[in-house]
Amino acid sequence: MTADVMIQASDLTKRFGSVRALDKISFEVEKGEVVGFLGPNGAGKSTTMRILTCFLAPTSGTAKVRGIDVFDDPLEVRRNLGYLPQRAPLYTDMVVRDYLKFVADVRGLDAAAFRKSLESIIEVCGLAQVLDKDISALSHGFRQRVGLGQALLHNPQILVLDEPTADLDPNEKAEVIRYIKEIGKDRTVLLSTHNLSEVEEACARAIIVSKGKVVADGPLEEIRAKTGSVRYLVTVDEKTGLSGKSAPRISELREALEGIRGALRSRELPTDESVHKIEVSGEKDSDLRAEIFQLMVAQGWLMLELRRDAQSLDAVFRDLTRGDEAMDRGLAWNDESDDGDDEAADRDDQDDEDEGDDAEESEEKKDA
């Protein structure tokens, strides 16, 4: 281990009853990196972070923060970390300033140090206008910022942020991401999310977990290239065909597209126009555009749009975590704006609370 490794997890396993939430997770985060920790809900992101912050103990394996084992000296580990738990749970009956003062007191900052770091936090997290408000009166976006501020009070070198952008509206998300980028300039950040566009924006490296295992770890470019497939977006009119011929049914269309040599699989995308929108995955370095066009002409189908994309991170994510329980629920991961995202976040919260509370309960839940 080099001196620059800030977070080191090796063979972390965590069981809740008979459920294995983490299955030998290993990774390292080096100094100055901003790492996205990705995975479907229930994949073990929060559990890993709770182990790193000494809230939970691993069943086996070791976790070290700045070379300090979480078992040996949990207090020292926590002193080195700033942590923002999921949904930024704050004492809602307190005023923002009092809350920050409380955290500073617990962290043992003296009055002068507190004043100084409060100034910089107000600036970095944009808290000036809410400093004297009750936390219960704040919007979720501001609570998240206060949570972020709280994690930064003691100027830690390492930040662990658990879904800092869940439940935020798009503007707030953009804001928080901007703060994280700002903060990440001179710190090590481990950031969990299931929103991929954020990772692309804020992180250079991603770790993808699924079912308690690391399925991909590396720079975004590398991960993107990993599955190596190419994506085609095909839009076909579902009402009328070419020169009097009939329009295809969706099953017909997908079958025909998957029949093309080099096409791996297809997927229907949601749309509110009267069209079929299909995503076709093709083999690496393939170019099926000509074949798709010829197919359309031969069948007399009216193609409205055809686009070839290098594999997006979304698609990589889907490929890597396919078969995960969360996927079986049919949740869409790519559409930021749809409601599924929020529902998914809620569900995740519930799952996590159960994990923390009672092993048997979560066991039942998973079984069900």
Binding site: F55, L56, L75, R78, P89, V106, R107, G108, Q150, D357
Partner: protein
């Protein structure tokens, strides 16, 4: 400042940031006054310069209302809202969290008890002097109250750290403390070993000595043991989250 005291201070202040502290203090004094002066003729009927009824009503009131209300949120609410994770991932020891919360809640209960000092002072010192007052039993009575509330708050904290919600915590604490209080009266109606056991664990029979001006080491040890036991189990139940 010391972490433990910081947590205790926040906990104590939190009661006053919400209406809870004011409601508890006002209503318990209204109730106490009503019982003390009106219930079955009250103080006037006894026709002696004594505060003994005070030491019967206060612990019963504490057991039935004040302690369950004050302790119900301590751990149950923190766990439910997730703030426990925020608190514990600060560099604090689990024992500091338990002790801090305990002292914060005990602080509020002692505020209520401290305010009841108005009774002996106003009635027998200034402005009224309603008779020659023997201060001995009053002092020992307050020592008893202190020990009693230390034990009751610890039991409340323990139940709050085991319960899933504030409401559940409230009712169980209410029931347990009520049972501990009235088991003495129940024992009087029975005989045999069960009666002895009930009598032995009853908070009420433990308090009678203090009311009469008698500070018995056995009673002191009894209350202190309950306190320590409840705190240790609360601490363990907080630690248990790590391994669950």
């Amino acid at each position: 400042m010391n972490t433990l005291l910081t947590i205790a201070k926040r906990e104590f202040r939190a009661y006053f940031d919400s209406p809870l502290a004011y409601v508890v203090i006002c209503l318990s004094f209204f109730g106490l006054g009503l019982m003390f002066f009106m219930y079955q003729g009250g103080y006037w009927q006894i026709d002696r310069a004594t505060l003994q009824p005070l030491f019967e009503f206060i612990p019963a009131g504490l057991a039935m209302l004040v302690v369950p209300v004050v302790t119900m949120r301590l751990m149950a609410e923190e766990r439910r809202s997730g703030t426990l994770e925020m608190l514990i991932t600060l560099p604090v020891k689990d024992s500091d969290v338990i002790m801090g919360k305990y002292l914060g809640a005990l602080g509020l209960v002692l505020t209520v008890i401290g305010a009841s000092l108005a009774y002996p002072i106003l009635m027998f010192k200034f402005p009224w002097t309603l008779g020659p007052m023997d201060m001995g039993p009053v002092i020992s009575g307050y020592v008893g109250l202190l020990l009693y509330s230390a034990a009751a708050v610890a039991v409340g904290l323990l139940i709050s750290s085991l319960a899933d919600s504030q409401a559940v915590s409230f009712f169980i604490t209410f029931f347990v403390l009520g049972a501990f209080w009235f088991s003495g009266s129940m024992a009087d109606q029975m005989d045999g070993t069960l009666a002895n056991v009930l009598h032995y664990v009853s908070f009420q029979s433990r308090m009678t000595g203090f009311m009469r001006g008698l500070i018995d080491t056995r009673d002191v040890v009894f209350f202190l043991s309950i306190t320590i036991l409840a705190l240790v189990v609360s601490f363990r139940s907080l630690e248990r989250r790590k391994w669950a």
